[in-house]
Structures are given as C-alpha cells and as structure tokens.
Amino acid sequence: MSASSPGGGLQGAARILSGLLEARTGQVLSEGRAWRMETALRPVMRAHDLRDIDDLAAQVLRKRNSPLEADVVNALLNNESSFFRDLQIFDMIHRQILPHIRAEKKDRTLRIWSAGCSTGQEAYSLAIRLRNDAARWQGWRIEILATDISTAAIDQARSGVFSQMDVQRGLGVGDLIKWFAPHGEEWCASPELRRMIDFRHDNLFDARAPQGDYDLILCRNVLLYFTPERCQAVLGLLSRHSHAQSVLLLGAGETVIGQGEEFMPHPEFRGSYVRKVGLPDVAGGPMRRTG
C-alpha cells in the first residue's frame, strides 16, 4: 500500500503508525518522510513475523504499550548523526563559546546538554574536544548530559560502538587513533570518553533527565520534526534549564524566531541563541550564576 494519498495526508495503516509516533515523541511524520515508512518498518515486521504494514498497524492497535510499539517508534525516528556535524559550529564552540564560559564561570563547572543526541556522535565530539584541550580544563568539573527519545539510539550511544562508516564521517584520523579502538569490524570509544557522558533515554515533552541549568545546550535538527506548538514547548523546557548566559545551538535550518519569547539571537556567537531574560547580564555585568 502507499503511505500517502494522492490528495495529500497519510492514510490507513500509515496514519495509525504516524499517530503512534506523534503520541510517543511529538514528532510529525511529514509527507517527505512518509515514503520511507515501509522501508524503515521492514525489519520490525520481520522480527515480529508480520506480513505487511496493515498487519503491523492491526497488531499495534490490539496491544497497547507493547514492545512492538517501542520497536515501531524506534524504527520511525530519524537517527542520522555524524561526528563534528557542521564543523564550523564545533569550531565556534571550541574557539569562542567554551573560552567565554571558561573565562566567566567562577565555580569551574561546565554543564553541557545534548538534547536529542541520537546515537551520540555530537556528545562524543564535544567530549573529544574537551579532552584534547584537557590542560585548559584542569580543575573543572565537566558534565555532559545527552538525551534522546529513542531507546535504541541511546543504547548504541552508551555502548560507544560505531561502524567504520560512522567514524569516517567527520572524525579526523588523529582523533580516531587517539580515542577509539578496533572492535571487530567496528570501533569503540575509549572508556575515558564514555565516562564523560551521561546518556539518558528521555522525552523532551516529559523531561526527567535534565537537572538545573546548563551552560551550553545543543538541540540541533530536533525542532524541525515538531509542530510550532511543540517547538514552543521544547524551547520553554530549554529556557527553564538555562541561565542568563547559557548558549543555545539549534540546527542549521532551525530558528527561535516565531517560536515563542524565550530566546533571541546571541549578540556575540553567530547562529546561537541566548535566553531573553538574560539580556541585562549579557550586555553589562559579569556572568551572574555559578552553576
């Protein structure tokens, strides 16, 4: 069957399964992604011995909150990620944002949240940059929280195991040699890197993992899957876990403009955002809070 009707809009089984995805994660399966639904669900159908997508939808309706539901949600989530994705963003973090935080934070605590971390490459990229710069961070307590709605993605992130293709995308050979070890045909991040990151399965609409404020929040290529109302809810959450000078980074095609009142473009770091109520501190005095 086709996932979408000629006049637009999902139909039949596709509508049921996309409804499940939205209910569990807030993500809206756009027409652009609907075409790959059957391909993405094929392994789930095979694993549960189901004939086709209609059979799958019928089973989902029959057994609510089953492992099958979790498998469907995991399969429909887009877990595309790569190390140092958008290299210029990481350069800005390394050359401008982190030095700024280091200069301003008096309690010598660096707290980073990778919200919607997928399979963990973003969090590992941050950990690598911090470890490569270890001398500058001596005496600092560094916390990296990385959360994602996909249990499968978080399991993989936590394992630290990446395919040959994964480690070639964005990861320099120097960092590969230094921070990864062969693991059969794959590569495994060093225990030192893995220990730096707290990977948690968490839902941005019912967040339990983030605690307190974060100095740097990365929520890249996440909002694009949500309705405007959901985007506002997520930005509200991010705002509640920000302080006056926290830096928020979104994906290249994402913006806070028209998405509520919480954030505004950062006056110093191009393409990043700062909480609106933080304006007086940013413009005038030193960094206010200390963790």
Binding site: S82, F84, L87, Q164, M165, Q168, R169, G170, G172, V173, G174, L176, I177, A181, P182
Partner: protein, 121 residues
C-alpha cells in the same frame, strides 16, 4: 578552484572519486601509481592528493617518502584512501605524513568531511 590528484591503479575507483570530487567543486587530475603521481606533483602541485596504498611501480607509502624530498612549492594535503583498514596501517600512514585516512568503501559524505578536515573545502 582547488585541485585534487587522485592516485589509484583502479580505473573504477578513479572514476568514482572524480565524480564525487567534481560535485564538490574541485578540479581533478589522475595518476595510476605513485611514480606517476610524483611526476605530476613536481610539475604542478595539487592542493590535495587522494592516495591509494597498494599500487604497482610505486606504492602510496613509497610516494609519501619520495614526496618529502620532492622539489615542490607547497606540500599538498594527503588523504590515504585504501582497503588497508587495520589500526597498524592507519598509524603507519599518519606517521609517514598522511593528513587524513579514508577506509574503502567510501561515499560522498565521507570524502566531503575529510576534505573539510584538511581545510581543502
């Protein structure tokens, strides 16, 4: 426009690499082995060399050694691109002077990210 020299004894690999590199706005020249590559580098230094390991006449490692004493105005960035995927090979290539390492098979995204890392794009 920056120039990439693709060094590989496989016509198919050269063709695939050329297709990807041209789509990234690089001009491409080709060499069939290390000796051919060395001659071309001395005549007109490319910005980057995509270098196979195992080739007849002169291997990729031999090319790297020869390049260090070649008469050139500027040393090109070297990206090894090979089926030799063991950690010992990767370390040996880096110690010999390779700037980056691509394990075959590769795709556009991989090459693009490696070229960005060495600062060519």
């Amino acid at each position: 426009m920056k120039n990439c020299l693709v060094v590989d004894d496989s016509k198919v690999i050269r063709k695939v690499a050329r297709h990807i590199l041209e789509s990234l706005d690089l001009t491409v020249s080709e060499a069939v082995d290390g000796q051919d590559a060395l001659t071309q580098c001395e005549a007109s230094a490319p910005d980057v060399v995509l270098l196979d390991w195992n080739m007849p006449v002169m291997s990729g490692m031999e090319f790297l050694q020869a390049l260090s004493s070649a008469k050139m105005t500027a040393r090109p960035k070297i990206i090894f691109c090979t089926t030799e995927n063991g950690i010992s090979h990767i370390k040996a290539a880096v110690e010999a002077g390779a700037d980056e390492y691509v394990m075959k098979p590769f795709d556009r995204e991989t090459l693009e990210s490696k070229l960005a890392i060495v600062g060519v794009i």
